[in-house]
């Protein structure tokens, strides 16, 4: 992947497929470190699946036996001296606390650090493709914070779908404005 924002999009797509109602995308950044967390309340993964999910030759798809989303994120993190943490609680029908959380830690000054890239585009792409699930996005930097909660937008929109073109454009502009207000430099 050329940008970490593409890994974010890819990993969050897994959350959508896991039937998440809320997916949280949290980026925390200091001058030296960057972490990306994708947390969902989807169906979760059993311990067996969890153990094999960082293996490039594991997938739940039956068409072909290759799933590269998590291995690619792990590789991008480990190339910088960082790591990936993965926690999951499988939905057994008894608990509401099911879901998956993945956090990748990066060292920004490492020569192999992949730039974050166009996070806004990944967020709007996710919303465009999954207008009925909610996304909480937060990017905390040393200059300030950027955020979006589709639950608030949904309330204001009173039934107008989130994937309406004008709404997607508004979200794009809303995030762009927030980034320029904190003078965030990519």
């Amino acid at each position: 992947m050329k940008e970490l924002s593409l890994n974010i999009l890819d990993i969050a797509e897994n959350s959508m497929k896991a039937g998440a109602t809320l997916t949280e995308i949290i980026i925390i950044e200091s001058s030296l470190e960057l972490s990306i967390t994708v947390k969902d309340d989807g169906c979760g993964m059993s311990e067996d699946i969890l153990r094999s999910v960082t293996d490039p030759f594991y997938t739940t798809r039956t068409t072909r036996s290759v799933g590269l989303g998590i291995p690619l994120l792990k590789m991008a993190a480990e190339m910088t001296g960082g790591r990936v943490e993965l926690h999951s609680v499988v939905d057994d029908g008894k608990t509401d606390a099911h879901g998956t959380t993945i956090t990748a830690y990066f060292y920004k000054n490492h020569i192999d650090f992949t730039p974050l890239g166009d996070v806004i585009s990944s967020i709007t792409t996710l919303i465009q493709g999954h207008p009925d699930t909610d996304i909480l996005f937060s990017h905390v930097t040393e200059y300030g914070e950027v955020g979006l909660d589709t639950r608030e937008l949904r309330e204001a929109l009173e039934g107008v779908p989130l994937d309406t073109y004008e709404v997607i454009k508004w979200i794009e502009g809303y995030l762009e404005e927030q980034y320029s207000e904190i003078n965030y430099k990519k």
Partner: protein, 121 residues
Amino acid sequence: MKSLAELKAIRDKMKDKVVIREGSSDVRVVVGMATCGIAAGARPVLNAFVEAVNESGLAGTVTVSQTGCIGICQFEPVVEIYEAGEKTTYVKMTPEKAKTVVEKHLKGGNVVAEFTIANYN
């Protein structure tokens, strides 16, 4: 500064349109957004389709949606267009090719043969 009030104005403007749009979409543009597609550049392709379809006033009849891996990763970004029982598969797409497809295929009704998978086999 963008505000939720601005979003409410969009809501009021869109409410009438939403009713018209439902059920009347007879053309579907489907962009592959699995790991293979994303890595090959599907994100800007999808956004180009969304933008071009809306800017050319086709939003009432054309929906742009996303799907997973369809098994031809070497041809990603892959875009399938479904209309009246017909399927066209465009491969190795770019935002520029997306604009051409919207103009010539979706607006003009002519398949852009040079971008289709048939042209690569």
